[in-house]
Each structure stands twice: as structure tokens, then as C-alpha cells.
């Protein structure tokens, strides 16, 4: 196995051995501070806050990317400010997130050890949230090469957010996907219909209370395909061995 960290290799398999930079004296670089923002993005943030005023509920820089949470009624205005004032003409994506922790798979003594165990306490991400659902989007500028992430909370009972279609034409498909996966409707969208799923599909798959259907159909460990050795008698399929 070559996962042993720190293996030293000689450089003889490089043709230009004289130009090889040896990394034996590499400086251990400090990982950058996740909350640092460079000059450009800091100014971007200032301009945005100046334009939107108190519509900005919280901001938090993350790995060089400003994350801004805006008020519910200013979602489209934030997009307009981003496009017109900050010259962010490029829409990267719009998506949603469900902050509710996923219910544990099966019951207490279930043997399902396959999935990572997520903490059961509710916690929110950068710039916080005041509810279960959020819509977040990322926009960038093709000319100035800066970008920012915008977030907005979605009320759980109404499940309504403002649509970005009048601002960015590409929001059409992203919002359709968001509606399909989370059930968040977008006010002002021309036609919210299914994008990935068949039109008769019920439910919103990316919500945390929507189970992974393949586990429901056949509980973990699923179909264990074990061929019996030639001498051994055939074993019935229900006594499948743990092939972990």
C-alpha cells in the first residue's frame, strides 16, 4: 500500500534532473485563515452593504468568498444590486439547503453502520439562518473576476422566495430544480415544473425527512452477491455474510 505518508522518492525518473526543485526543504505553509478576505472582496462587501442597507442581516467571509444573508423581501433586490452595481453578470447557481438534521437511519439497534453519523443538534452555517430552509446563490463577475454568495431564509410554512428570473435569465432552471428538490416556490417564475424527476413524482427528495429510497426498498447491506465456493453447498440468500 502506498498510502504511507512521507515516502521519499528519488528524482531519477525525471528527464531534466538538473531543473528539478527538491521539496525536501519545503516550508510548512500555514493554511490560510478561513475568515480572511482580500482587498477586492472586502470592498465588494462594503459596497453591497452600502446599497442594501439594513436588508443585509449577516455577513461572514468564508475562504475568500463573502457570504451575505439578506432579508426575505430583498432577495431580488440583492440580485439586482449584484448585477448592476457590483457588475456580477454571471450566475453560477441557485440552490437550497435544509438545515434540519437527518433522522437516524433505522432504529437504535439497527446494524446500519454505512452512513456517516451527523450530529443531531441543529446548527446553521455561515451568516446563520432563522429557519429550516434557505436558498443560496453564487454570482460572479466575468470582467472583474470577483464573486459572492448570497443567502436568504425561507419561511417553512409559506415556502416562498422571490424569483431571480427577471434579473438573471439562467435562474429559470436553477429555481425549477430548487422547487423540485425542496419544495420552495419562486414568486415570479414563469413555469415551475419538474426538471429532473418525472412529472408524477411526489415529495421533495433533498429534504432531510425524505429517506434515501434505495435503503427503504432494500435495507442495508442491500443485495449481497456472494457466490458459493464450488465445494460448499449453496447458502440461502438471507444469511448473507457481512462483506464489509
Amino acid at each position: 500500500m502506498s498510502d504511507v505518508p512521507g515516502t521519499e522518492l528519488d528524482s531519477t525518473d525525471d528527464a531534466s534532473a538538473d531543473e528539478v526543485t527538491t521539496a525536501t526543504d519545503v516550508e510548512v505553509e500555514e493554511p490560510p485563515d478561513p475568515h480572511a478576505l482580500d482587498e477586492e472582496h472586502a470592498q465588494l462587501l462594503t459596497r453591497l452593504e452600502g446599497e442594501l442597507g439594513d436588508a443585509v442581516l449577516d455577513t461572514e467571509p468564508r475562504f475568500g468568498d463573502p457570504v451575505v444573508r439578506v432579508r426575505r423581501d430583498s432577495w431580488r433586490r440583492a440580485a439586482e444590486v449584484a448585477r448592476d452595481v457590483l457588475e456580477c453578470d454571471y450566475l453560477s447557481f441557485i440552490s437550497g439547503i435544509d438545515w434540519q438534521p437527518a433522522p437516524k437511519e433505522g432504529d437504535e439497534d439497527s446494524s446500519d453502520t454505512s452512513s456517516p453519523v451527523q450530529p443531531q443538534e441543529v446548527s446553521y452555517g455561515a451568516a446563520g439562518s432563522d429557519g429550516r430552509f434557505q436558498v443560496f446563490a453564487h454570482v460572479q463577475s466575468t470582467a472583474h473576476h470577483w464573486g459572492l454568495t448570497l443567502k436568504v431564509d425561507v419561511d417553512e410554512t409559506g415556502m416562498l422566495a422571490e424569483s431571480w428570473v427577471p434579473v438573471y435569465a439562467g435562474a429559470d432552471w436553477h429555481e425549477r430544480e430548487c422547487w423540485e428538490m425542496f419544495g420552495i416556490s419562486f414568486d415570479g417564475h414563469p413555469a415551475l415544473r419538474h426538471l429532473y424527476l418525472p412529472s408524477a413524482f411526489e415529495g421533495h427528495p433533498l429534504r432531510k425527512d425524505f429517506p434515501l429510497l434505495s435503503r427503504v426498498v432494500k435495507p442495508w447491506p442491500g443485495l449481497v452477491d456472494v457466490e458459493a465456493m464450488p465445494e460448499e453447498p449453496e447458502e440461502p440468500a438471507s444469511t448473507a455474510e457481512d462483506t464489509e
Binding site: 528519488d10 527538491t22 440552490s95 432531510k208
Partner: protein
Amino acid sequence: MNRPPRVSEAEQSRASTGERVSAVGASPTATSEPMMEVDPRLYRHLADAQVNVELDTGDMILNLGPQHPATHGTLRLVVRLDGERVISADPIIGYMHRGYEKLTEFRTYPQITTLINRIDWLSSFANEVPFIDAAEQLMGILAPPRAQYIRTILTELSRIATFLLFLGEMGLQVGALTPAFYGFRDREHILNLIEAATGGRFHPNFNRIGGLKDDLPWGWVNDTRTAMKTVFDACDTFEDLVAGNEIFEARTRSIGIIPAELGAAYGVSGSNLRASGVDWDLRRDGKPYLAYPEIDFRVWTHPDGDSFARYWVRLQETREAARMVLQLLDQLPSGPIMTKVPLIIKVPQGEIWVETENPLGQMGYYVFSKGATGPFRVKIRSASFSNVSILPWLLRGVFVPDVITILGSLYFILGDIDR
């Protein structure tokens, strides 16, 4: 004998003017609206738009797909035709939806690496890179320089592999049978290299959080240098055989022009946007990642924004990628390929957005982590999803054969659209 100048030289001088295609006053919304004043260069595209008004015939609805040789997989395009002219087109996707974003919530980070290989299956190494980068940044670790270099080399090799296939099959979409075979043949050299290094031609699954799984085999560097020569030859062949062909030019020039602002609003990225004159490449302009800050490369743009421009930009980028690989091989540092990481990887709480310049366009992962062995939510931003979303606007008023040309020139992969 006076040979006419290579397509490249003529196009290069135009490409370096830096102009963009713009649609002044074009409607930004996705609904079908009449085209208002447009850039005069679009006129050639619209000149033949004479609807037959003498015969009031009904429209015909044609289903292109989901099984169709031109749609690169299971994409269904419901077009409404008037004779041979498209009135409206509606792409219906999701035939290959595998639910990746849901699946990632039930997998550990190394398991997700296996999954996301299969998003864009032609350049699969490139899919792993942003995710691994995200996990490493959240954990606060840095892969050693040698690992970064090798990752870059393998990414550029996947870019070459994908683009060689594109150069061949674009000819196939337009009707030339032969370039497709040349594309596959030349791609074999690259796939052999990737297989030698990683063990898999298509799904290498080679990245690990903190570095790579293994080091390069003996003699790989020399083999790669040789293979890059064949790449240059192949690009020359494609330039003469396909890009220089008059019929190919007649079929692709002024077809499917994407204005730069509209493309950006739809999220069109990568070579498609650069072919409309937008000088934006995440390897150079985004946050620094892998070994790109240490090498020199040129970003190719083209002012036209039509299908020919997209073909030409990818052709140049293939050559550029080969040059980059040669530079990286020259500068390849020695050293470890994996930093010290714990056996069970738990990524601390946080969220991060990482984007890279993948062969198909801008690919990004927004990873939310709550400190467990797997992520809380991963939003996969795939390039082809946005590239295909512009189709309803782009396909209005074109002929049926042009639909095929446009689909071919946008170069999407179904796994990338549907995830």
C-alpha cells in the same frame, strides 16, 4: 504552391482583438420574445429567416431523443418545427438523474470521491479535484507540491482527452465520418497514460484527501512527453481536416451565436463563453488552486461566439494543455505525495465554495460540513447544466441540422447535466 494561411493564423489575429459578441437590447428573459436590435454580426445568421407565409401549414412536434445519436446521451429535445425551421425547443433532462446530492449526504468523503468521478465521465479526474480541494481547505491541510503538480498534470491530460474526443465527434455531428475515429485513436494515448498512473482509464479515483493514492510509475514522464507530441500532431490534423474544411465552415459559422452577456446570465462557462469573447479562465483568474500559479499559459478567446468559434477555442486549448503538461513535467518537484492525515477523516464544521476550470466549464462544489465523517450537504455546480439551459433561447429560428451542430458545439455530457 501557395498554401492558404492556416485557419489558426487568420483566426488568431481576430481572436486577439478582444471583442465580444453583444446583443444590444436582446431580452434577458428565457421566454420567447422577438429579437430586437441585435449585433450586426448576427445578421448573417438571421438573414435566411424567411418564414413561409404563403402556405399556412400546421406545426410539427418532433422528439429528438432521448435515444438519438446527436444528443450525447439521454437528452430529450422537444422541438416544434415549421417545415425545417425550429419555432421552439424544450430540453427535457433527468433521464440520467442519479441523485448525487442526496447520495453525498450518506457517504464519507473518500466514498464521495468515487461517486463524483462519474459526473463528467470523459474527464473524470477533473471532477475529483475541486471536491478534494474543498475538503482539504476545510481541514486546513495542504497537499504536498508534488501531489499538486501531479494532480495538475492529470487534470490537463483529462482535458486533452475530452477535447480530442470533441474535435473528432464535432465532425461526426456535422456529417464527416472520419474525424471521429481519429479522435478516439489519438485519445487512446492519453488514456493509456492515465491508466498507467492511476489504474483506471475512465474513473481513476486517484485523489485522496491530503494528496494522491500513489506515485507515478517508472518512465511515465518520458511516455507523457512522447504522447504530447502525438497530441500536437493530432491537433494539426484536426485543424486541416475539419476546421479547414469549407463545408464544415459553412455549417458552423454564424450558427448558434451566444452573446456574451446573455451567456453569462445563463451561466454558460468554459470554452463556450470564451468563444464569445469573454476573457475569463478560472485557472488564471479564480482563486489559485493546484499548480496553475506556477506555469505560464495563454487563455484563448474568439470574438464570434458561433459554433466554429467554440470548435476553434477548444482546438487551441488542447494545444495549450499539451504545452502546460510539458511545462509541468519540466518543473515536477520531488517529495512526498501525501501529507499526514488521520485514518478516519473528519472534516471540521464549516462551509466552502470551490470552483475549477473543468474541460466542460466551471465546475464547483459548495460543501457544508458539520464535523462528521461525511458532509452535511454538497451542492454540485456542474457546467453542462447551465450550458444546456440556454438551448431554448439559442435554438429559436434555426434549421434542424443546425440544432445538431449547436448541440455538438456546446459539448455537454449527460452525467454532468443530470448528476
